[in-house]
Structure formats: structure tokens, C-alpha cells
């Protein structure tokens, strides 16, 4: 902790004896992964904050240029790894837009149910880690209890707890097993009680309110200018939710509310996300009523693999299976942007196709990357301890930041 004299940049700050450069390094318990933040402090006040991402840059976009579309799906799982199914769906929506194919309705309703369950799972991790960083360590244990119920539902469908790869271009990998609907209904009945428990424990807690009210304030104009989306934008009062205003899949047939904040501080964003969890349960409940029996894979022979019984007995089906696995399926020349309202904001996949079975360029618009850019705006002028609250409130996941 020695005093440093830094060269003046932008002519803004003077080299002062009191100013200290502190490195909240990549290995830190509360940075939710490997994020480095370089702080310039004068005493306890943050004068300049500079987040340094890139410690988890795994080159997904470069790898995707050499893989077929179905092979990219496991790569997309690992972007926002706390809600992996959302990434799968966003990518598959982009490819299906390029191809122009139609998805059977059962696959769409199951996708919606699982996406909303993932939103709840992601918000539970946010709740656990954010409140734990502020000081209430037991909140994490409560959140994990409900998240395990959701992971059980996913493990029943596809066998994995965290990285599913359950979507395919044209539908789902396989139909849900028997017992899926009962488990989902059991969760829907149980969750509001657990949610009431969290609200009772945390929301009116005076210490929690002291640490989050009027901390990390961002106005609506600043939020739009910085490109914030998701609950971070709605906490400042801007009414924008892709599920309502640019509906995809069947969201226009479902009735739900979008919670909005007013001041744009950490407490408003907290309340927005807590209410979003309840609205997600409402959506799942309504989707279960629409769910009917039917196929989960599109009828297009160029895109979908044939059913296994046919592939093992008929020669044409086996050839089709072989060709699709070895050569993939070709998409028309053009570009498409597939987007969803993920748990952290607008997740978009921009694909440029040159007519072959591999994308020419895939760009992932990760909401956490764009939201993290506003961290200096939230923290400059505040105290060091508020930096921790602000990182938690913008809800970042490093897989999406660094891709």
C-alpha cells in the first residue's frame, strides 16, 4: 500500500500524495469470478474505477467459425453458465431465423417453461451472492435450496445439472420424460412460500437498506446511453422488456407484469429482480396449461436428424443421418440477429452466413459485458465498500463478459 504518483491522463487528476491505486485483483471472493478492478482511492472515496475483464476470454467466437451449427450449442452453454438454457435458445433462434423454419408448438412451450425456470435459477444465484457480499452469509444457503429443485428438473430432462445443450436447431434434443409436469407443478406451488421467506428476511432489514438505498444511482438517460438492458435498466424506470415489446416464441399469449423501479439505486434493482422471480412463476403456471402432446422436433428433413428407429432400419434415413452429422446443413446467404430477454439483459447472437454449413462470423452480444461498462458511473464518488454492492447489483457473469 505505498503512495503512487501516476502520470496525469486527460489532464484531469493531479498527482496527489493522498491518492492510492488499489488493485481488487482477479482472485477475490466477491468479484463473482475473475474480474480485476483497478481503483484510484483518496482515503475511502473512489476517484476512478477501471474494470479489467478478459481473464476468462476463451475465444468462443473464433472457435464457432470452424464448427457446424449444432456443434456450437455446447459452446453457447458456457457463456452465461448460471442460466445455460437461455443461451441455447437465443442461438437457436438466430439460426432458425436464418433458415426460416417453423418449430412445433410443444417444443416452443417447453422452451418457454425452461427459460423462465432458468431465469429464476439465475436470479437465485444473484440473490445469494449479492446479499452474501453485503454481509448476510446465510442468504446463499437459502437460495441454493430452491435452485437445487430447478436443477433436479433439468437433470431429469437432459442429464446434466449445469450445462445442458438441450436445444437443437429445429426443436429440442428429446421429449421430456414422464413426471416432468408433476415436478414443475410442485415447484410452482412451493416457490412463492420460499420467496416470501426471503422477502421477510432481507427486504426490510435496516442494515441491508443502509447499504443499498441511494447507492449506485444511475439515471434513465445515462442508462440508455450506456446501453444497459434488463433489470438494471428497469430499475431506473425505463419500461423496456423484450418479452413484452418485441415478443418472441409465444410470449404475446401470456399475461404477466414487468416491475419497474423509480430511483435507479441498488435497492430498486433488488426489488425489481425479486418481483421478476414471482412473475416468472406466473408465466410457468400459464404455460403448463397450454402444453399439449405433440412432436418436439421440426419436420424439415434437411435440418433434423431422422428418428433412431428409422435410421437403423432404412437406408435413406441412415444416409440422411450420415450426411447431416458429417457435413451439417447449409444455411442461405444472409445475416440474422436472434435475441432474447435473458436474466441479465438482452442476449443477442449475430450470425453472418456465407451459404455453407458453418457461420462466417458469429458475434455474441453479452448483456453482462455492456452492463459492466457502467460500473465507473455507479461507483465514482462513492466509498470502497459500495463497489462491492454495485458489482452485485449489475449482476455480471464472467462467462458472458469475456466470452
Amino acid at each position: 500500500m505505498q503512495e503512487t504518483k501516476t502520470a496525469p491522463q486527460n489532464g484531469e487528476f493531479q498527482s496527489s500524495q493522498k491518492r492510492m491505486r488499489l488493485n481488487m485483483g482477479p482472485q477475490h471472493p466477491s468479484t463473482h469470478g475473475v474480474l480485476q478492478i483497478v481503483l484510484d482511492l483518496e482515503g475511502e472515496v473512489v476517484m476512478r474505477c477501471d474494470p479489467v475483464p478478459g481473464y476468462l476470454h476463451r475465444g468462443t467466437e473464433k472457435l464457432a467459425e470452424g464448427k457446424y451449427y449444432n456443434q456450437i450449442i455446447p459452446l453457447t452453454d458456457r457463456l452465461d453458465y448460471v442460466s445455460a438454457f437461455n443461451n441455447n435458445v437465443a442461438f437457436v433462434l438466430a439460426v432458425e431465423k436464418l433458415l426460416g423454419i417453423e418449430i412445433p408448438s410443444r417444443a416452443n412451450w417447453i422452451r418457454m417453461i425452461l427459460m423462465e425456470l432458468q431465469r429464476i435459477a439465475s436470479h437465485l444465484i444473484w440473490f445469494g451472492t449479492h446479499v452474501m457480499d453485503i454481509g448476510a452469509v446465510t442468504a446463499f444457503l437459502y437460495a441454493m435450496r430452491e435452485r437445487e429443485m430447478i436443477l433436479d428438473i433439468f437433470e431429469m430432462c437432459c442429464g446434466a445439472r449445469l450445462t445442458y445443450s438441450y436445444c437443437r436447431v429445429g426443436g429440442l434434443m428429446a421429449d421430456t420424460p414422464p413426471g416432468f409436469e408433476e415436478k414443475v407443478e410442485e415447484f410452482v406451488k412451493h416457490f412463492p412460500k420460499a420467496h416470501a421467506e426471503y422477502m421477510k428476511l432481507v427486504t426490510k432489514n435496516p442494515i441491508f437498506m443502509d447499504r443499498t438505498v441511494d447507492v449506485g444511482v444511475i439515471t434513465a438517460e445515462d442508462a440508455i446511453d450506456m446501453g444497459l438492458t434488463g433489470a438494471s435498466l428497469r430499475g431506473s424506470g425505463v419500461n423496456w422488456d423484450l418479452r413484452k415489446h418485441e415478443p418472441y416464441i409465444h410470449y404475446d399469449q401470456i399475461d404477466f407484469d414487468v416491475p419497474l423501479g423509480s430511483k435507479g439505486d441498488c435497492y430498486d434493482r433488488y426489488l425489481c429482480r425479486m418481483e421478476e422471480m414471482l412473475q416468472s412463476v406466473r408465466i410457468v403456471d400459464q404455460c403448463m396449461k397450454f402444453l399439449k402432446a405433440g412432436p418436439v422436433r421440426a419436420d424439415d428433413p434437411k435440418v433434423m436428424l431422422p428418428p433412431k428407429e428409422l435410421a437403423m432400419s432404412q437406408a435413406e434415413a441412415m444416409q440422411r443421418h450420415f450426411v447431416q452429422v458429417i457435413h451439417g446443413f447449409a444455411t442461405p446467404v444472409g445475416e440474422a440477429y436472434g435475441k432474447i430477454e435473458a436474466s441479465k439483459g438482452e442476449l443477442g447472437f449475430y450470425l453472418i452466413s456465407d451459404g455453407s454449413s458453418r457461420p462466417y462470423r458469429m458475434k455474441i452480444r453479452g448483456p453482462s459485458y455492456v452492463n459492466l461498462q457502467s460500473l465507473p458511473l455507479l461507483t465514482e464518488g462513492g466509498m470502497v465498500a459500495d463497489v462491492i454492492a454495485c458489482i452485485g447489483t449489475i449482476d455480471i457473469v464472467l462467462g458472458e463478459v469475456d466470452r
Partner: protein, 155 residues
């Protein structure tokens, strides 16, 4: 389709103002793409943000693509969104190395342009703080170019 009407207005206004500086307007699967000449890049985006019929107040994404066999090898691509009119637009231009920065128009372009510089090597004139963001400071080369191998140079 309702989206296409307001976007038709946008395209007409752009054609009125910029005329020859628009190289092409295309539409694919309900998405409109406008290709500009690089000389009007900054002016076009200022117009798109401030004109009341366009009103694109949020920049969603700014990125690039590499076509190494063309003389102007990079395509710089921008996605825009208007929260009030609820329409989206994609703007493109082409360049070899330099392009004006869009940070004066939307502050969110800052990190998008740093990432594009880091991975492609496109230099944004007028950017306040252009340095590498996802790779280490002393990295040599620009990985997302088509002539950089996937496995890098020192496996």
C-alpha cells in the same frame, strides 16, 4: 407489417439526406441493413440518433467482420434500437484500418470499439482510451482476423 412502416420512413429520410453516400439498402427476414460510405459514418449516426422520426437512442452492438479477399477488408457493423419507436436498424461500412469513433454519439460504444480493436485491429479515430481489453496488453496479433490460426502461435 408495423415494423416495416416506421423503418420505411427511416430509410426514406436517410436517402433524402445522404443520397449517394448510401451504397445499398437490403432487407432479409424482417431486418433492414443500410451500407454507408465511411466518410459519412459519424454524421449518419448523429442524424439517426437526433432525428425525431428515427430516434435511435440505444446502440446495441458494434462489431466487425473480416473479408480478406476484398481491398477494404473490414466491415464495421452497428446495431441500433429505438426504445420509443420500437424499431431496429443495422448499419454497415467498410474500411481498411481507420474509422471514426462513435463514442461522441453513444457512450456505450467505448467498450465495443475497444473489443473490436483488440480482436481485429481496426483503429477508431477519436476514441478516448483505445487499448486492449480482453487479451493481455502485450499480445501481438489480432485473433479474429481470418489469417490468424485458431490455435494461436504458442500452444
Amino acid at each position: 407489417m408495423p415494423m416495416q412502416d416506421s423503418l420505411q420512413v427511416v430509410v426514406d429520410r436517410l436517402k433524402d439526406k445522404f443520397g449517394d453516400n448510401i451504397l445499398s439498402v437490403s432487407e432479409f427476414r424482417d431486418e433492414v441493413t443500410v451500407r454507408f460510405k465511411p466518410e459519412v459514418w459519424l454524421e449518419a449516426h448523429t442524424f439517426l440518433k437526433e432525428d425525431p422520426d428515427c430516434a435511435f437512442n440505444m446502440m446495441i452492438d458494434e462489431t466487425a467482420a473480416d473479408y480478406p479477399l476484398r481491398p477494404d477488408r473490414f466491415d464495421v457493423i452497428c446495431h441500433l434500437l429505438s426504445l420509443d419507436k420500437r424499431h431496429r436498424l443495422r448499419t454497415k461500412t467498410q474500411t481498411v484500418e481507420h474509422i471514426p469513433s462513435l463514442v461522441p454519439v453513444w457512450r456505450t460504444a467505448n467498450w465495443h470499439e475497444r473489443e473490436t480493436y483488440d480482436l481485429f485491429g481496426i483503429i477508431y479515430d477519436g476514441h478516448p482510451d483505445l487499448r486492449r481489453i480482453l487479451l493481455t496488453e502485450d499480445w501481438e496479433g489480432f485473433p479474429l482476423r481470418k489469417d490468424y490460426p485458431v490455435e494461436g502461435y504458442d500452444m
